[in-house]
């Protein structure tokens, strides 16, 4: 990675003119490698015949296919690491596990798409999902279809900047094949990077420690021990618990070398509070991840009830390492997306969220929310913020003045129902996770 590529800078891109008015004009900017002449004509013809949903969905699908292909170049095992999916092997087809929404998130995380593009694509995804699943009582409008086609071409089907993603992939290989010192340029860059990159580096090393053996594992252990003291203050609670849980897991699996290395790393940061007493939290985390994946996939309103019931069945005593994942899962379902929420699923999530004590909500707002991408992503619409406010009031968490500044402002805005302010603060905190200020 020791190039001039800085991971977290927004990728520069040739921008399409903003005054394009027709679909043929827009489609002309698509790269023929990703959208052939025949396919371009199909989109144009469908649009001209007023089959706006067909036209938009086709363009969208081609865009997502292209995005998945770009990500696949980095290696399926790398993508699985970023998604926290240990069940995926290098032979698993990428479209089996990489949903549209996750593909956009990862592309943003890796700098293939900038933050504006990611925001627009996420909105388009929710729009497509809404119309595709028959939840809408209207047809897709010409204007919405045009925007979907425009954004699909602008951010995906024209040229893309994949330098950052490739540079990051190279760095990942270095982490597992070299022993890196603190003076190393790559190490210095990572230590001042936004949370997403530090987190990704952590995930890469932990996965190698848990799954690999031999030289790769040894390098991962050595590099974690080198970086952990400087990384620790930047890590979110969930990331620290991930290290504690990894230590617990390797000890339970009888890997003495990994156990010793992780114990030494935790010793350096006095991090044993993050070691769970059992590996029960893994079950909760895995199920919570399934709920979140279901929420972000197609047909989520229909599929969420079963997923959230499975999480509910595990019990209300949530192990500490899984607390954030479970709250995130329940919040995603309860707050819903831009178009509403699953009528059958949200009461189940609400019931579980109401069982969380005021002390735990205080902990959530004090130590977690400012680095919680899922929670921040759901503080957006007026309905979402109003529902969040009602929930906190029903729990009895109606006043708190002991939070860090940004968290306090966010909490106050939610409790007071000030949706514009809450949305603004949430967006600032969300962008801070991924981009340098």
């Amino acid at each position: 990675m020791s190039t001039n590529v800085i991971l977290w800078q927004n990728p520069e891109k040739d921008v399409m003119p903003t005054d394009l008015e027709t679909v043929p004009d827009v489609i002309a900017y698509a790269n023929e490698q990703y959208l052939s002449s025949k396919q371009q004509n199909q989109i144009v013809n469908a649009f001209n015949q007023k089959s706006y949903d067909m036209s938009a969905e086709f363009a969208w699908k081609k865009a997502i296919i292209k995005l998945r292909k770009s990500l696949e170049k980095l290696g399926v095992d790398f993508i699985a690491e970023l998604l926290g999916r240990s069940d995926i092997s290098e032979y698993t087809p990428i479209d089996e596990f990489l949903t549209d929404r996750k593909a956009i998130d990862l592309a943003e995380q890796l700098g293939i798409i900038g933050k504006t593009g990611a925001l627009k694509l996420k909105h388009n995804y929710e729009l497509i999902n809404h119309f595709l699943t028959g939840e809408s009582d209207e047809d897709l409008s010409k204007k919405d279809a045009f925007n979907i086609i425009y954004d699909s071409v602008q951010y995906i089907l024209s040229e893309q900047n994949e330098d950052v993603a490739l540079a990051f992939s190279d760095f990942r290989n270095r982490l597992l094949s070299d022993t890196i010192s603190l003076q190393d340029v790559d190490a210095q860059q990572i230590l001042v990077a936004p949370l997403f990159y530090i987190r990704t580096v952590c995930i890469i090393m932990l996965n190698a420690i848990k799954k690999d053996k031999g030289v790769r594992q040894e390098h991962a252990l050595a590099n974690l021990n080198t970086l952990i003291k400087d990384m620790w203050k930047s890590l979110a609670e969930s990331d620290r618990y991930a290290i504690g849980l990894a230590y617990s897991t390797v000890s339970a699996h009888g890997d003495d070398l990994a156990s010793k290395g992780l114990k030494q790393a935790l010793m350096k940061v006095h991090g044993f509070d993050y070691v769970p007493e059992t590996t029960r939290s893994t079950t909760f985390k895995n199920q919570a991840k399934k709920v979140i994946d279901t929420h972000y996939a197609y047909n989520n309103y229909y599929n969420e009830p079963a997923a959230v019931r499975s999480l509910e069945k595990l019990g209300s005593i949530i192990p500490a390492p899984a607390f954030q994942d479970c709250v995130d899962a329940y919040l995603c379902v309860y707050l819903g997306n831009l178009y509403g929420r699953s009528i059958e699923a949200y009461p189940i999530a609400e019931k579980e969220l109401l069982k969380i004590s005021v002390d735990r909500w205080h902990y959530f707002f004090k130590d977690i929310i400012h680095q919680d991408q899922y929670a921040l992503d759901h503080i957006y619409t007026e309905n979402q913020i109003r529902n969040f406010s009602e929930l906190l009031k029903n729990v009895g968490y109606t006043s708190d003045s002991g939070l860090p500044k940004d968290n306090q402002n966010l909490y106050n805005a939610i409790i007071n129902g000030d949706s514009e302010k809450a949305k603004r603060i949430a967006l600032i905190l969300y962008n801070r996770l991924k981009y340098a200020e």
Binding site: K213, G214, S248, S251, A252, H253, G254, D255, D256, L257, S259, K260, K263, Q264, L266, M267, F272, D273, V275, P276, E277, T278, T279
Partner: protein
Amino acid sequence: MTSTLLSQLSEVEAGLDALLSSMSYPNNEVIRKGLRDIIEMISDYHEEGTPLFPDVIVADSVDFFKTFNNNRLKVAKNEMDRGEFSLAIKMCAPLAVDGWGIYFIISGQDNSIEYGVLTTELQVLSLDLYEQTMGAEIPELNCLFIRNVGNKVVEVRDVRHQFLVALNLSDEYTPMDETIKQLVDIIMSDKDDRERETKNYLAKAMQQTMNEGHGNLIAVIQEDEVVIQSTLDNLHGGICLDSPIDLSYLISDYRNIHSEEQSLRLRSYTNLMKSMLNFDGITLFSDHGKVLGYHFIVNNNLVTDEHVQGGARTRAYLALCNLDCIKACFMKSQDGKVKFHSK
């Protein structure tokens, strides 16, 4: 007539002082005497005629137990008194079997002593208590580990320092755990360092077996039809298994699938292996991690030295050493002496 008392007391106390100085209560007479009592008790502890080998861990704070996975069961917490140490052993040693050990939390600040039992075995392959505490080699984690390492020899150590108290008057000592690791390396010759978990599991099972039994005799041969037949020609009276117990396969099956069925299967066959090891006679292993048979007797005419001292087991061991087809042989006698030979 004059008589002289020969005692190791001063050496033991000096050793304990050195270890206790790194914990939060140096020069504490009560604790030193209490630990001496523990050493003496566990060097040769029996309950209803059954020998017991509890591992004992001593910490100065409950925070120590956050540094590794364990389940604890408190038995008592009382004011510090020398008698509490021996009472703790009496109350806890019979419980400290099947992966359980004894813990002490001795607080110099409030002059209290808490004790009970604990286990680190959250899953079937979990590292044992010794590996999770001493194996990590982190000096800042203050604790003492006391255990019987065989033949009335007690190991007392922290991460950096160790001493052995030999209450058998012998000046020879073969460390059983190191010897078992060498034996396991040969039994699992086809496994490299990437299969550490497999080797750790087998070593742990064998250590438990050696502690529980009255003596063991193990031979390892190459997994080859000709070699196996040649070996069997020199053995008699035993059972050669049609389906050898393939521990390597059972362990990797569990690691891959990780279900309750695989876990139970692994435990069941491990218990079977332990029973075979504690049965009279020689247990035969291949160097691919399989139990080939048990209860064998070797032809004693293979022992060429007429002046061998020892019983039938020793003579059998020496006979095995003389067999060309044997890659390694291990013996633990009833009184705890360990011998190991490899080619």
